[in-house]
Symmetry: C2
Subunit: 499 residues, 2 copies
Amino acid sequence: MARRSRSARRSDTSAAKAVNASPFIQRRLPFYEVLDEEQIIKLEAQVDWLIQDVGIAFRDDSEALRIWKEAGANIDGDIVRAPADWIRALCAKAPSQFTQLARNPDKSVTIGGKNQVFAPIYGAPFVRDLSKGRRYGDMASFEQLVKLAYMHPNLHHTGLVICEPCDVPVSKRHLDMVLAHMTLSDKPHLGAITEMSRAQDSVAMAEILHGADVMEENCVIMGNVNTNSPLLVDKVVTEAIRVYCGRNQGIVVVPFILSGAMGPVSTAASVAQAMAEAMMCCAFSQIVRPGAPFVLGNFLSSMSLKSGAPTFGMPEPVISNYAIGQLARRAGLPLRCGGSLTASKIEDAQAAYESADSMHSTMLAGANYVLHAAGWLEGGLCTGYEKLIMDADRLGSYQKVLDQGLDCSDEALARDAYSEVAPGGHFLGSAHTMRNYKTAFYEPKLSDSENVESWEDLGSKDMRQRAYELWNSMLEHYEEPPMDDAKREELNAFGSKRK
Amino acid sequence: MARRSRSARRSDTSAAKAVNASPFIQRRLPFYEVLDEEQIIKLEAQVDWLIQDVGIAFRDDSEALRIWKEAGANIDGDIVRAPADWIRALCAKAPSQFTQLARNPDKSVTIGGKNQVFAPIYGAPFVRDLSKGRRYGDMASFEQLVKLAYMHPNLHHTGLVICEPCDVPVSKRHLDMVLAHMTLSDKPHLGAITEMSRAQDSVAMAEILHGADVMEENCVIMGNVNTNSPLLVDKVVTEAIRVYCGRNQGIVVVPFILSGAMGPVSTAASVAQAMAEAMMCCAFSQIVRPGAPFVLGNFLSSMSLKSGAPTFGMPEPVISNYAIGQLARRAGLPLRCGGSLTASKIEDAQAAYESADSMHSTMLAGANYVLHAAGWLEGGLCTGYEKLIMDADRLGSYQKVLDQGLDCSDEALARDAYSEVAPGGHFLGSAHTMRNYKTAFYEPKLSDSENVESWEDLGSKDMRQRAYELWNSMLEHYEEPPMDDAKREELNAFGSKRK
């Protein structure tokens, strides 16, 4: 516990090629239940009313309407209405938790129940780092970001569109993105959804990687889709459900609701609307394939009255995270919500305050699959290299809170230490401290706890500058996880053929 | 909801002379109970063991030992041991909540129960701002910071040592500090504790301000003291208790435990030790004056294994906040814990991540009195002007989460809005939105939600720069709250006489 020297720090920072010790979080901390019985009854009655009386439009996919009709729903134009009891019964067919296999079995994740899985930002067209500034994402940055997500011990899953590789034509982009996740990383990831053929390509590539037999019995890939709130589900969603769930793979369906625009200007109404939209999609998925893995998503943002722009890390989405967590547990469905979200353009204090409040509530809410857990800037328009590493550093703290809760074992209560230490003394050298200090504290890589003089001696670097050094050092140490040559060739051949 | 113009933004930023609308938080959100029955039993047995078998030293105050002895405790040298049942029975005499009167009755605060009160940093020798950098605190900066705490709507209480006014001799400093809080602000505040005579001066000044009659029946001032952990209570604590509680005023007693140094290197043991130390002080206070207001404090920090320095916003203090909240509620005592804590030297992302995780857990833990809720830098060595304003901006978000929870009223469920909006449409112009948008969202002053182009046009300012502009603007608009001339003269005369 001596003051570390400069050289010690340097070697520590560069020793960043850690591999994930714990492939996902198995929560020991109790859930936080914010809603009382009366609130639950009112919210669930609202969900039922939206499903039964208001209805949800399923548009541009006649096959989806045919499936609903055959199953017995009421179809009025493209509005689908159904008895809420029936929808809830269909939702109950979806597993409350399931495992997504990674190609490295040590990195498979279980989604649902008390398990929580963190994945990076999804969908940003821009990237930003401290040396090159803000620019369109490209395949080179995409690959760097996938490598970082693979290397970081606090990210359990690599998502998919960690940035948009804008230099690759849209029609071919999904092939390169999926291939990069499959070859540069051995963690679980998502597949494409933007067109039916792209979803099919993703599932076909997963079949090559994992084998048809394994795939028949296991979830090896998932798609992540947004509804067109309010109350509209377009063919991107239904086709993705048909492709992924049709092969017994997972689907994450996420109503994205900016309160006041895509939902009423009220958190309770927006939460209920999100539940109704997602549950209808879940029911649809279970008609397509009973038992297919489904993750109920929620993405709720507040609004600046001055600019009309979405705001993040604010009290309304914080409370919505807590509420949706409780409602999803009651529905018995795995939940995706939250993330390290911010409206800030750079990795300043605003970005960190907003991300932390957003993610702290995401953590406690019990979100089972957390996309955007690291790297998000600018309301999701930009992936920050430094932000990715800074957020991920904090995720380790959340993992410890969730995994361990408060250890009250006899060893933790340390009665023997009190026989060694007099009133006003210190425990630094006690046998209990010697036995436990190495694992007692979470040791973040990017928080500086030096005194001001040492910090100034080292160049008065802020967290952003330290993060810049860390991700560069990590990339220098990147090693591609081994892969069977025949499999790699088959994946490449599939991509070439499809292009 | 149109994009605001530059001039609109400027006038908005300068319109910062808000006065607190809600003088403290009346929590509607349920408490978060993280400990199960088995953990509670083990922790409380540990507390009892420390009180009964290990004992707590009361040192350098023979009067304190005399009081303990007369009341019936076991005294062995300076170690006080007592039956835990008796100590718990004494603690039960302290009020579970009480009101501290402010000189402006609209700003009186209730501490305990479901009420939560935010106060700024306490005790930093240094100050820092963006233009003058880091320097020793002085009376000029002290007064500026008190003015800012007075003006900020999200701070309910002004604390006391918002920075150390190092240019005033220590023997006279308390008089100037208390006078500044009494005259520059009309919010509730603390008194001095470092020597018995300084505590007495503070109480005497409170008597001048509020009148002896009011003071006999009400809490109008409190002291805040630290024990000398582990298991040592010195005369600063016992004398402060004798002075404040002797006059039926409040005392906050806070074990400051750096796990591994002033307590075992275990969160559970450190939490139990803090409970034992604080409960013994509470029992002492109730022997001195049954029914005197007592706040059970807890300040637990983790440690960097590399530097040995305290770390903040880490998983161990986060979980300790949740646990101590539950234990304090079981003991029926108001709680002080947490704050917006960080080891960072500046207002960068590290400062904000750590402060937010620290404060989010403080908020949910139900901390009734939160010193250090704004302004803390460098492990408490430095008060940041920008940090004060940035943290306070975030406190408004916590207040909304706590005060409101999730409103599930019929108006919030907005059923009428769905008759106006088609699937895929928007709620921007619906009658429900028009009725509610003005109060729907928390509107922070310092978060920028502009798009990147607008933000760049405005100078690409980070939150720290915006905070610098805001506090300068606030000070330009400061107006001293009115005070009776005779009272002011009497306070000044008291100060002159005591100097």
